[in-house]
């Protein structure tokens, strides 16, 4: 449950933000989460709802926006979406670091994000 560590970071940041500004109520917190992170949107939302009880931001919702992975191949200069492993046992195809064009190792340039993108509140 590393989602719990991440969510406690979110809640701490938002409470800190609320304490420093004239805010009556936080409505909505938007996260961007990369495809290459191991974070489950459903678990993030569940942890969030559990953690904000009895706090100043109780009742606010967490929205999770997915960021697709992008890779760059140093061998053939390919840049774009990764190759997906279709036969993997996951619910959805798994992104790999194999180049879709030449099959060699690529580097991820996008997909590791985990950030609070924006916060919607009432003053």
């Amino acid at each position: 449950m590393h989602e719990l560590s991440i969510v406690s970071g979110i809640v701490e940041s938002i409470l800190d933000f609320v304490a420093k500004h004239q805010i009556r109520k936080v409505l909505d917190v938007r996260l961007t989460v990369g495809e290459l992170t191991h974070l489950e949107a459903e678990q993030l939302r569940f942890c969030y709802t559990a953690m904000i009880e009895q706090t100043a931001i109780q009742g606010s919702t967490l929205e999770v926006e997915a960021v697709r992975a992008e890779v760059n191949c140093p061998h053939c200069s390919y840049q774009g979406p990764p190759k997906y492993w279709e036969e993997a046992l996951a619910m959805a195809p798994v992104p790999t670091l194999q180049c879709p064009q030449c099959g060699k190792a690529t580097e991820a340039i996008q997909g590791h994000e985990c950030a609070i993108k924006s916060i919607k509140y009432v003053t």
């Binding site: 560590s5 979110i10 109520k25 798994v94 194999q98 985990c114 609070i116 003053t123």
Partner: protein, 231 residues
């Protein structure tokens, strides 16, 4: 009943924050790395499931390398000190990183462990992460190389089931190969799965029981000590 305030559109604010949540750990990991580099120390992070053989592998590596290099071992363990004792009997400095209920080590804990050893007298640190194939991947520690240990006793689908862990690894050790036949697991299939995810990863089949592959692991760890790549 909790009173609810419905906002009218004109008093609703929507502001951009762009605040990275993994940044705090990543920053501490960078600080650890800078400190390690300053003392010319390489740290190697061992990850893998419970019972994959991380501790035994580290113990074997300590046995092989302690006469060449000054080693230290950090053992992440949720509660017990059994693992750290196994290493400590070999006479190298060890630090127990007890996460209590935490499922991964983080850079903050490793930074604290660095204060417990004399950095001037250490060349290479092995960090044993918590037995878990999912959570540790998101938390870099400041190590130069990340090793994932899987064993054939975890079954034929280990790699397919936990693909994310391998994307961030530099070396994969497939352990307990002496049991592969009994388990009906093909080491070549596991190797192929790892390379499907990341073609340039080094895969080393080992058995800590027979000693197979252990020299190759030691050589790979020494190569990681020599390299300048980031982990």
């Amino acid at each position: 009943m909790i009173p609810t305030i419905e906002a009218s559109p004109e008093e609703t604010y929507d502001i951009e924050l762009e605040q990275s949540l993994l940044q705090a750990n990543a920053k501490l990991a960078k600080e650890n790395r800078a400190q390690l580099d300053h003392y010319n120390i390489t740290a190697i992070d061992f990850m893998g499931a419970i019972g994959s053989g991380k501790t035994t592998l580290i113990a074997r590596m300590v046995g092989k390398m302690k006469h060449q290099l000054n080693l230290a071992v950090f053992n992440g363990d949720a509660t017990t000190v059994d693992d750290v004792n196994l290493i400590a009997t070999q006479g190298v400095p060890t630090v127990q990183l007890a996460t209590v209920n935490g499922c991964h080590l983080d850079a903050n804990l490793v930074g604290k462990a660095l204060l417990k050893i004399d950095l001037k007298t250490v060349d290479l640190i092995f960090i044993e992460n918590i037995g878990n194939l999912i959570c540790p991947a998101e938390f870099p520690l400041g190590s130069r190389s990340r090793v994932v240990v899987v064993s054939v006793t975890e079954g034929p689908y280990m790699v397919k089931k936990h693909p994310h862990m391998f994307l961030g690894a530099d070396i994969v050790v497939i352990n307990k190969i002496d049991l592969a036949e009994v388990m009906g697991v093909k080491v070549s299939d596991l190797t192929r799965d790892v390379h499907t995810l990341k073609p340039d990863i080094k895969v080393i089949p080992t058995s800590c029981k027979t000693g197979a592959g252990l020299d190759e692991v030691a050589a790979a760890l020494l190569a990681a000590k020599g390299s300048r790549s980031d982990a």
